[in-house]
Symmetry: C2
Subunit: 209 residues, 2 copies
DNA sequence: TAAAATCTGTTGCAAATGCAACAATTTTAT
DNA sequence: ATAAAATTGTTGCATTTGCAACAGATTTTA
């Protein structure tokens, strides 16, 4: 985090105060939204988890983004001109906040002081989102599955300040996050294990170097 | 763009009005900045072009980001815990605006009305950055070089509203943008040409379908 | 404008990755 | 609690991609 700003508390206030927003609940499997150009929708995950899914022309599914509590997503952030069908599905029971970016900077009917604060804090959410995306790019640009894995493990290890940590995804999802074949990912993990770089128990990984 | 907001004009005003910023000039090859954790620096390209470069442990160079006029970049946007050396180099004569994100929301000593506007517009810059990053991820997650090329061509074609368009990079840089081997990229382009999908004259591409 | 540097185009071969398929295990839903 | 669904682990083989190397073209610099 950039500042000491309390994201969670901000979102709670946001929800309580601003009349320009909607909050909806979704059960697992439900479609939260589809990305429709020019709607300028922004969403924030209040609880639960959602995936941003792409189906390409031959029906292949790719998870483009994975959003958890306090993450921000929406069609505003997505480039136009990519002719993919994009939609967001709840992968567990989720509570999502919706608003239109366009109306956000309009004067609030209650002239609330809250608005200025809100806009400031929105920047923090944006920055967090940019950081997440840069992290993903950092990994995606690594040239081999091995390099991707080692970089990713490095990050997990550093952020938990421990040589032992848990991968927060299933291996199936991790393969998708790296955009590589699952069996190739498993093979590489096996090699890293056999070569003594890591120890693996389920999704619990221990760095041995 | 999300709104009718005039980014260029905003930056000009920003430069003229706000005392919390610095503007510096760089010649080709000069280092603009290095990413140092916790400095919370944000930069905007006023003119010219800069590359965000990563050198990994075995000295391989990767262009992580390419920023042109009005693009925003900086250490604030970059995940901590990645132990890479990151720095930004001017690839041509460039004028760069610097400020610290932390001081941005502090009261301006001149109490300028400009500040509120500035913060609003900063969001637009952030959103543009997020869109760029999502576009890059969209391409990076395509599973083959062929798919990457076709998606990219599709985007260039749509945004120029023409079957004929120019790739705004050298092929060397394009390979790096896709994070693939240059000769493999050239090979795939040759195959697309031979199979009659595209016509190629230098970096000018014509879609034949 | 000549020399240096970079970029393009190409290839053969090696290495990495993807694909398909399946059994075993674990998780989720009824 | 049990059936259904999803995930894991594995392999052989096909395909894609990377690597190295080089000559020719183009661009940049002095």
């Amino acid at each position: 985090m950039v500042t000491n700003f309390d994201k969670k508390n901000f979102i709670k206030n946001f929800k309580a105060n601003c009349k320009k927003i909607q909050v909806k609940n979704f059960i697992k499997g439900e479609t939260v939204t589809t990305y429709i150009e020019k709607r300028n929708q922004i969403c924030i995950v209040l609880s639960g988890e959602v995936d941003l899914i792409r189906y390409d022309f031959n029906g292949n599914k790719t998870i483009i983004g994975h959003f958890v509590e306090n993450d921000i997503f929406g069609e505003v952030f997505y480039p136009a001109n990519t002719n993919n069908e994009l939609f967001v599905t709840a992968i567990k029971k989720s509570e999502i906040l919706f608003f239109s970016y366009d109306t956000l900077f309009e004067k609030c009917e209650y002239e609330c002081v809250f608005h200025k604060e809100l806009i400031n804090n929105l920047s923090e959410l944006f920055i967090d989102e940019i950081i997440d995306l840069n992290l993903r790019i950092e990994l995606l640009t690594k040239r081999s599955i091995r390099e991707k894995l080692l970089s990713y493990f490095e990050i997990l290890s550093k952020s938990s300040m421990n040589k032992v940590f848990n991968i927060p995804y299933t291996y199936t999802d991790l393969a998708d996050y790296f955009s590589v074949d699952r069996s190739s990912l498993m093979r590489e993990i096996k090699m890293l294990t056999d070569e003594g770089f890591i120890k693996k128990e389920g999704t619990k990984i221990t760095l041995l170097y």
